[in-house]
């Protein structure tokens, strides 16, 4: 499609397409989508339900008096409603999704099919263990892959997402310290560049957060770290590769320092996809690390979950792992669900049941498909792709740090200085180019940060097209062509949305006007 000079699509004769007003409110393929409450009927249902004979009610005096007040849609109405909604979403299946730190890679569909086998999807968490031997076998095999890839002693599978895995790791550390009689150790060292979940998790476990500075080249400031060690330190939470997309070269020194100070090393494993098969975290001195199955092992992000955050634990922390977990016995597999016997030191329980089985199946399917050789290549290709982007954009954008990156390339907004274009404007203009924006303004330690993670599942051709768009945008910004940035995006299903109004007068549910 041709573009006019304000970045809007033009038809063949040069008219601005946006000018056409339609009677229906739809715009070609983009159909108008009202809320279900505005057109659904309380007398409609799209579900066939068998009639059964009803006898005496045993609801006592609690039969619902208040109307439920929910509209129903017929099946064709419902299918159409959600298909229309879906067409307003960007997705990895649609195009490059370079959202740094989030690892938006292709989700192989075999994994979806496997997770839907009735033997996995239609089993109850509290069935007798004799009837779920295959499920326990799968969990046991997944645990074997995760502990082998990380070199760690054991894994708590049950945490339901990355932040939940952090909680699991930090609760294990708390339990280990308490077992040593060191309840007074409350301080946790967290770099300023950390994900927000790190300090939030530490606080949720009752720890106090002590921020560690960063060096000018994007790494943990070892001197500052050393100066903050002490008898009250419980441990540190460090992301490696870090949130700047860089490997911490002094990671082993950091681990040794925290250990000799009597603390434990929690590693945020959000970026494990950059080193899987290349480095075992255990060799770096890690005591606990969560693994986002929805990042490294490609379970789908689903518009914001469900995730899955199994947490690997070192020999020192393994006795404190939460229940339940699977063990292999002489005649099959068993579940350790009670905090007795071998689990007497368990810190407790993360969730009602066994965690995200549906994600375990997908992740194991991914691991088996790739194998130990393929997983190593996953890391190599992810790092190769990121460095290709970094090298291809460094002359027109401003890399935050010198040297190679790992799986994501970080830029600051220095190259936009004096242009009047902000990181946000630049990101929104990327939407018009057909890309999901990169992660912005994170990590906090880099001004106007732009964190680009292409992942290994993008081809060179796709990267080249992306690079061409990014270069064009950088050149436009520098040549003072602000039309592509002002009020961008112009071509998205919605124009820029007023987030301030949403927060000032929150409307969190629909009500008839």
């Amino acid at each position: 499609m041709a573009m006019n000079n304000i970045g809007r699509p033009t038809s063949i004769d040069g008219n601005v397409g946006e000018v056409v007003q339609t009677t229906s409110g739809s715009k070609g393929l983009l159909q108008k989508t009202e809320l279900i409450f505005e057109y659904g009927s309380k007398d409609t249902t799209g579900v066939d339900i068998e009639d059964v004979t009803t006898g005496n009610s045993r609801l006592g005096n609690l039969a619902r008096k208040e109307e439920i007040n929910l509209p129903g849609l017929s099946e064709p109405e419902a299918v159409r409603h959600y298909v229309r909604l879906s067409q307003r979403n960007y997705a990895i299946d649609l195009g490059l999704f370079p959202l740094g730190s989030c690892t938006m890679k292709h989700n192989p569909r075999l994994n979806e099919a496997m997770a839907r086998l009735p033997g996995f999807s239609d089993i109850h968490p509290l069935q007798p263990v004799s009837t779920v031997q295959g499920a326990l076998e799968l969990m046991h095999e997944l645990a074997h892959w995760l502990t082998t890839l990380t070199g760690m002693k054991s894994v708590a599978l049950s945490p339901k997402a990355g932040a939940h895995g952090e909680l699991c790791g930090m609760l294990s550390i708390r339990a280990a310290l308490d077992a040593r009689g060191q309840q007074h150790r409350k301080r946790v060292l967290v770099p300023k560049s950390a994900h927000g979940t790190n300090p939030a998790t530490a606080a949720q476990c009752g720890f106090e957060v002590d921020e560690v500075a960063q060096t000018h080249d994007g790494r943990v400031d070892l001197e500052d770290f050393k100066s903050k060690l002490g008898d009250d330190v419980a441990g540190c939470m460090i992301t490696n590769p870090n949130t700047c997309g860089l490997f911490e070269p002094q990671i082993k020194e950091i681990a040794d320092l925290i250990h000799s100070a009597g603390g434990y090393f929690y590693c945020d494993g959000a970026n494990f996809n950059a080193i899987v098969g290349k480095v075992r975290p255990a060799d770096l001195g890690v005591d606990a690390m969560h693994i986002n199955l929805h990042k490294t092992f490609s379970t789908p992000h689903g518009g914001g979950g469900p995730g899955s955050g199994p947490t690997v634990l070192s020999e020192a922390l393994a006795p404190f792992a939460p229940v339940p977990y699977v063990v292999k016995t002489s005649n099959g597999f068993d579940l350790i669900e009670n905090e007795t016997g071998e689990a007497a030191q368990a810190f407790g329980r993360m969730v009602a049941f066994h965690g995200q089985m549906g994600m375990y199946v997908r992740a194991l399917s991914y691991m088996l498909s790739h194998g130990n050789d393929g997983l190593k290549q996953v890391a190599e290709d992810a790092v190769l792709n990121a460095n290709y982007i970094l090298a291809s954009l460094k002359d027109v954008m401003s890399p935050a740090f010198d040297g190679y990156c790992m799986h994501e390339a970080l830029f600051d907004d220095h190259f936009l200085e004096g242009t009047g274009v902000t990181t946000l404007d630049f990101a929104k203009a990327m939407i018009d180019e057909g890309y999901h924006p990169m992660t912005m303004y994170f990590p906090l330690v880099v001004h106007g940060a732009m964190l680009i993670e292409p992942t290994e599942t993008e081809s060179k051709a796709t990267l080249d097209t992306f690079i061409a768009s990014m270069r064009a945008l950088a050149v436009a910004a520098k040549s003072n062509d602000k039309s592509r940035f002002d009020n961008a995006p112009h071509l998205a299903p919605s124009k820029r949305l007023d987030e301030t109004q949403a927060a000032r007068k929150p409307v969190l549910k629909w009500a008839a006007e």
Partner: protein, 436 residues
């Protein structure tokens, strides 16, 4: 590509990795790449070793329920634009997710009789723990009292957090019908009473007086449920005056999945909105004045507030919430009411049939689709025996509360949903007679 980068090998890009930690060959002890067919064969063989709920008479509940989910639900959630999208941080290209979350929040609030609901939690148990942390923050008090009808795993999840942040938990002994017992422990130090309806024994109770008494003492009333379908038939907890309503939403739209992924529901009074954990979708307008939706009130959240956030939660249960909202959109109030009445009818039928068996003593008096019976001997070995006969008879209470009294070890929790047939009920009754 290497030429553009200016290096001769990919390994050179890993130069910051200390040399001693570099692995130069694939890690031992793991298989190498397998074909799609080979993976499918291997995992299908594992799946075949499990007895799936749909293949046998099935009566398990206790926090996870077998329901029929219309085929269209799973079809829609597998659309690429939902399945492979991210958290809707860029609202201009995420209106699909955001509008569906807004609709979800509206449905949840109405179903639970509450003023506001969030965009989901991991599951019911973690929603429960977060509600307690929130209540302590709101009241600036530290003592919480759990009824003996709370799912023991929900209490355990909360307990794992509580000590470390100074929350004192009083957990009352298991009790089939004793939600009001919490009031005996209520005092001016109490941040919240945590009561359940339906509770883990299936008992449904009017919680209005408990809520009122708690509030008169400056405490919050937290209402917990594990079977959301109940609210198609019974009074919602919000209408009983409960301050924070939390529970498991799996029953609507989501499969059993051996315990996860599920979808935690979290709703409360509007005055506590800014203390809620988790994501919220809110309505706004775009530059053209058209209605649109964004994630909002994010100053509560970890990516802005860091250690001062209301919770560390980031990812939630987006796709499970989508399945919930699609299923509920299909049902509507008409379908949900009918589905709930079928559940209740099947449960009553099962209850009557089992109660007629010598030695089986029904314990629950008022219930929705789940109830407890006392057997003349421990329930766990009986359940194992019936499993060998191809019947999944329910959940022994001792499975979820291993430290319960000997009397409670005889208790069997039985759930019957719309998926149960006359033949299933007869098969359960006959098999049970055979082993008692």
């Amino acid at each position: 590509m290497l030429e553009t980068i200016g290096t001769r090998s990919v390994d050179a890009l890993f130069g910051d990795v200390p040399e001693f930690a570099r692995l130069n060959a694939p890690i031992d002890g793991l298989s190498s790449a397998m074909s799609e067919l080979a993976v499918s064969r291997k995992l299908s063989n594992m799946a075949a070793k499990n007895t799936n709920a749909g293949s046998v008479p099935f009566f398990c509940g206790a926090g996870a329920y077998k329901h029929h989910v219309p085929a269209s639900v799973d079809h829609i959630i597998q659309r690429s634009e939902f399945l492979t999208s991210y958290t809707p941080y860029q609202p201009e290209i995420a209106q699909g997710t955001l509008q569906s979350l807004f609709e979800f929040q509206t449905q949840v609030a109405r179903l639970l009789g509450c003023e506001v609901a969030n965009a989901s939690m991991y599951d019911g148990s973690t929603a429960c723990a977060e509600a307690i942390v929130m209540a302590c923050r709101v009241t600036k008090r530290k003592k919480v009292i759990f009824s003996g009808g709370i799912h023991p795993h929900y209490a355990a999840v909360t307990h794992s957090l509580a000590d470390n942040i100074g929350i004192e938990m009083v957990v009352l002994p298991a009790c089939v019908d004793g939600e009001a017992e919490v009031l005996k422990h209520l005092d001016k130090e109490t941040a919240a009473v945590v009561v359940s309806c339906p509770n883990v024994f299936g008992t449904i109770t009017d919680l209005s007086d408990i809520a009122k008494a708690a509030q008169e003492n400056g405490a919050l009333a937290i209402g917990v449920f594990t079977e959301v379908m109940a609210f198609g038939a019974i009074e919602p907890l919000g209408a009983m005056g409960i301050d924070i309503v939390v529970g498991e939403g799996q029953s609507i739209g989501n499969a059993l999945n051996f315990g996860g992924p599920y979808v935690g529901l979290f709703a409360c009074k509007e005055k506590y909105m800014r203390q809620m954990p988790g994501r919220l979708a809110g309505q706004t307008v775009d530059l053209d004045g058209n209605r649109g939706f964004v994630l909002t009130l994010s100053t509560r959240e970890q990516h802005i507030r860091r250690e001062k956030a209301t919770s560390n939660i980031c990812t939630n249960s987006g796709l499970c919430a989508l399945a919930f909202t699609i299923h509920l959109s299909l049902l509507g109030q008409k379908g949900l009411s009918k589905l709930a009445s079928v559940n209740h009818a099947r449960a009553c039928q099962t209850y009557d049939t089992l109660s007629a068996i010598d030695g089986v003593k029904p314990l629950t008096q008022t219930f929705f689709n789940e109830f407890a019976v006392a057997l003349p001997k421990p329930a766990a070995p009986i359940v194992d025996e019936l499993a060998k006969q191809g019947i999944l008879a329910g959940v022994p209470y001792s499975r979820i509360n291993p430290e319960c009294s000997d009397e409670m070890k005889n208790v069997l929790l039985v759930a019957a949903t719309e998926t149960v047939t006359d033949d299933d009920i007869a098969a359960l009754a006959n098999a049970l007679k055979g082993v008692l």
